[in-house]
């Protein structure tokens, strides 16, 4: 078995003829030609201001997310699996959130330890008993998926709060059509253009009943937010005003926006503000970004908010470990997409396995301050491992463990030519009356040789993701 799964050449069955064709076409470009096109693509991204913001002392610096012009390809069969798996997962997450904010059956049945949910910082008691429209909490979800050595798709993380990156999916496609039309021509690729319409439709579906032509808005923290480009992009794609907190006002438990014709009612808000900033009456009192009284208006059913407040509890690392059980519990189905094999150390079996295999595992604390206290077994010294065993035994409930995943690779244009680089995939699901998944998703690529870090803030880039039709 190869050490890494290659996204183009290692397939689980016979090589798809279209993939073969794309591969052959790619071979026909020499590296200099690819570089010329990459340069023009990056210049264009910069000119278009398709940037994210890196904060520094005085000036905010705009950077483009590096764009690799060699696409990542998913066959129709691969995509079908991912899509079904994402829909299943989002459905289970929504049922889970409904339950924990209502009857809490899953806690009573002992499927998930009570304290993991109720003691979670992202659990919002304010949400108890609130009936959100259509039972949907997570209207936009991003599922981080990787492939292991065997090419299996595994979920690494759920992003159920305000996942970013969908704008790059669509802009990458536009860029691809401009700089590599000869690679795309004649190949059936599922379009990504619908996203804005689907999102708008979902926002209309959740609007308060009886409003014939609901006013949808996108609520952004403003131009200095690092994801502002995405906010603009989505507002434009939906054809709705991009508002900031100061544009909205709540009177008589109804939400209005300040327009040149006076206050105009608002019915449905796609918010890109974290819970904490949404409403100073309920959350951080000092927040200037939110809208006073917004949560009250929402609770009374006068306005819809997507994603709902309190969804963070579902994308928490601690809950993530239970997601396969959550799927079985609510849907009575086996997970279509598995988690990365995760052991829960608060459970005796999990703890024993973790202690016995520590040198092969990544052990992560599940507490709120993720990042600290993590150990990567294969990179740790014997002393570090011994020390960690003591910590682990002292507080097993604080840890989960996972094997180190050798992420799949995709050919990527690098300094030394076309080389293999690790990639992940974040498909985006939009849920209103039903769930729709944007074909493909954001493929992030670690541009540094050997690096598994695909994060944009740490030198990651992105690729256009092609789903073959």
């Amino acid at each position: 078995m190869p050490r890494f799964f290659c996204e183009i050449m290692n397939t689980l069955g016979p090589l798809d003829p279209t993939v073969q064709m794309i591969h052959d076409r790619l071979q026909s470009f020499d590296v200099d030609e690819l570089r010329r096109r990459a340069t023009s693509a990056e210049a264009e991204l910069y000119n278009l201001g398709i940037t994210f913001t890196v904060y520094s002392d005085r000036d905010a610096i705009d950077r483009i997310l590096p764009f690799d012009l060699i696409p990542r390809i998913l066959t129709a069969g691969e995509w079908e699996l991912v899509e079904r798996g994402v829909v299943q997962r989002v459905t289970a997450i929504n049922k889970f959130l409904w339950d924990i904010y209502h009857d809490q059956k899953i806690l009573r049945d002992g499927i998930i330890p009570r304290d993991l949910v109720l003691g979670n910082v992202n659990f919002r008691p304010e949400m108890m008993g609130l009936d959100v429209p259509l039972g949907v909490y997570v209207h936009v979800n991003g599922t981080d998926i990787v492939r292991d050595e065997a090419g299996r798709f595994l979920v690494l993380e759920d992003n159920a709060r305000t996942p970013s990156g969908v704008s790059y999916v669509i802009e990458n496609r536009h860029m691809m059509l401009r700089v590599l039309p000869d690679l795309l021509s004649g190949i059936g690729i599922r379009p990504v253009e619908e996203y804005g319409l689907r999102l708008k439709q979902a926002m209309i579906e959740i609007a308060p009943a009886g409003v014939s032509d609901p006013q949808v808005v996108l609520l952004s923290p403003g131009i200095y937010n690092s994801a502002y480009f995405e906010h603009v992009f989505l507002a434009r794609e939906m054809g709705v005003p991009l508002v900031e907190g100061r544009d909205l006002v709540v009177e008589n438990a109804r939400v209005f926006m300040r327009t040149i014709a006076g206050l105009r009612p608002v019915h449905s808000i796609y918010r890109r503000l974290n819970d904490d900033f949404l409403d100073p009456d309920v959350f951080r009192p000092e927040s200037q970004l939110g809208v006073r009284g917004l949560v009250d208006a929402w609770r009374r059913g006068n306005v819809a908010i997507a994603n709902a407040v309190g969804t963070g509890v579902a994308d928490d690392k601690a809950i993530y470990a239970y997601m396969p059980r959550i799927i079985r519990y609510y849907l009575d189905e086996e997970p279509i997409l598995n988690n990365v094999d995760t052991r829960i150390c608060r459970e005796p079996d999990g703890l024993k396995y973790t202690l016995d295999n520590l040198e092969k595992l990544v052990v992560k604390p599940v507490g709120e301050s993720g990042g600290y206290g993590l150990i990567i077994g294969p990179h740790a010294t014997r002393a570090e491992l011994d020390e960690f065993r003591i910590k682990l035994k002292a507080d097993p409930a604080n840890y989960i463990s996972q094997p180190v995943i050798n992420l799949s690779t995709a050919p990527t244009l690098c300094e030394g030519g076309v080389e293999a680089r690790h990639v992940d995939l974040r498909p985006f699901a939009v849920t209103g009356a039903s769930t729709w998944v944007l074909p493909g998703g954001l493929s992030r690529v670690a541009l540094k040789k050997g690096s598994l870090v695909v994060n944009s803030s740490q030198g990651g880039g992105s690729k256009d993701t092609w789903v073959l039709s």
Binding site: N47, V232, D247, V249, I260, L263, Q288
Partner: protein, 365 residues
Amino acid sequence: MRTQALLSRYAESTVWLARYMERIENLARILDVTESFTRTSLVENGWRSVIQINADEERYYSTRTEADVRGVTEFYVLDRDNPNSIASIIDVARENARTLRPLISTEMWTHINVFHNWVRRLNSNDIRSSQLSALCARLKQECQTHYGITEGTFYRDQGWYFYSIGKFLERGDQTTRLVDIKYHTLLPREAGVGSQVDISQWSAVLRSAAAYHAYRRVMPSSLSPASVAGFLLLNNAFPRSLVLTLRQVYWAVGQLRTDYGLRRGGAALERMDELRAALTDQTIEQIILRGLHEFLDWVQVQLRLIQNDIADAFWTIEPPLHASEFGTQTLGTMTQSLGTMTQSLGTMRQTMETAGPASSRQSQN
């Protein structure tokens, strides 16, 4: 199709985007003409007048002692500590454009973005005397490209009228500044009137307003300071004349009221009526006789008040809600929200006087 009412903040940013782009072009014009002015004549204080036009004496002399070509161009092109420099103005113009991304066309945004990146890379080499004229030409051209792209791609709804309001208010204001300062700089002594130097300088003034050829068509045989001033202020057909820019602002406010049924903006129209009457009821000779400088001062105050009237009408004061939407509102909440509004009105006014909304970063912390 339902027309969405424009967000007040968008209206405000649109006005300022237009004003800033217009301001950059005017600055480039003034630097350009001053450069050719001082090169071809022995006029003293040529560069100081640029500082006077922009009422920047205090700021300029706080860090510099001499108003020479080097200092003034550095101050007005590169100095990012000077909020009136092209480098600073393009920053806030771009911030307004960023705010307006959902409203403006991709072409408008891309051009401003590229223009901004270019200005940011300018350095002291680019403002050497030998380069200055070419630099000004490029700046003017970029602004005109912006107007062209805007004309060709900006959707003609409410935003378009606010854009017009901002552009023409700024243009009218800049024309009055140009006339004011040049008239007094160039008309110091009785003896100078009609002399050769004088004429070439008045031609330069006309050129700085892109008015030379238009003026020549109207006045083929004479070139007097009074007729130049009269042309720039009162001509009905010249695109940068005060009278014409006022007509455009008036028209734009009127369109907002008629096409979109906005009842506000009446105060701005009334004030413009008065101002237009003051301009058309007297000749330039009468104006000069009564005191051109005082008159232009008054005009500039009026223009500022018109901007305030428009701000009050469309973004700083909250119009009352429709009764149908809001039948049961209590007096208590009304008073409370009025309190907040007055407060924000104060902050907005403050920023408006100096630079406009995008220059204030405090709301993002």
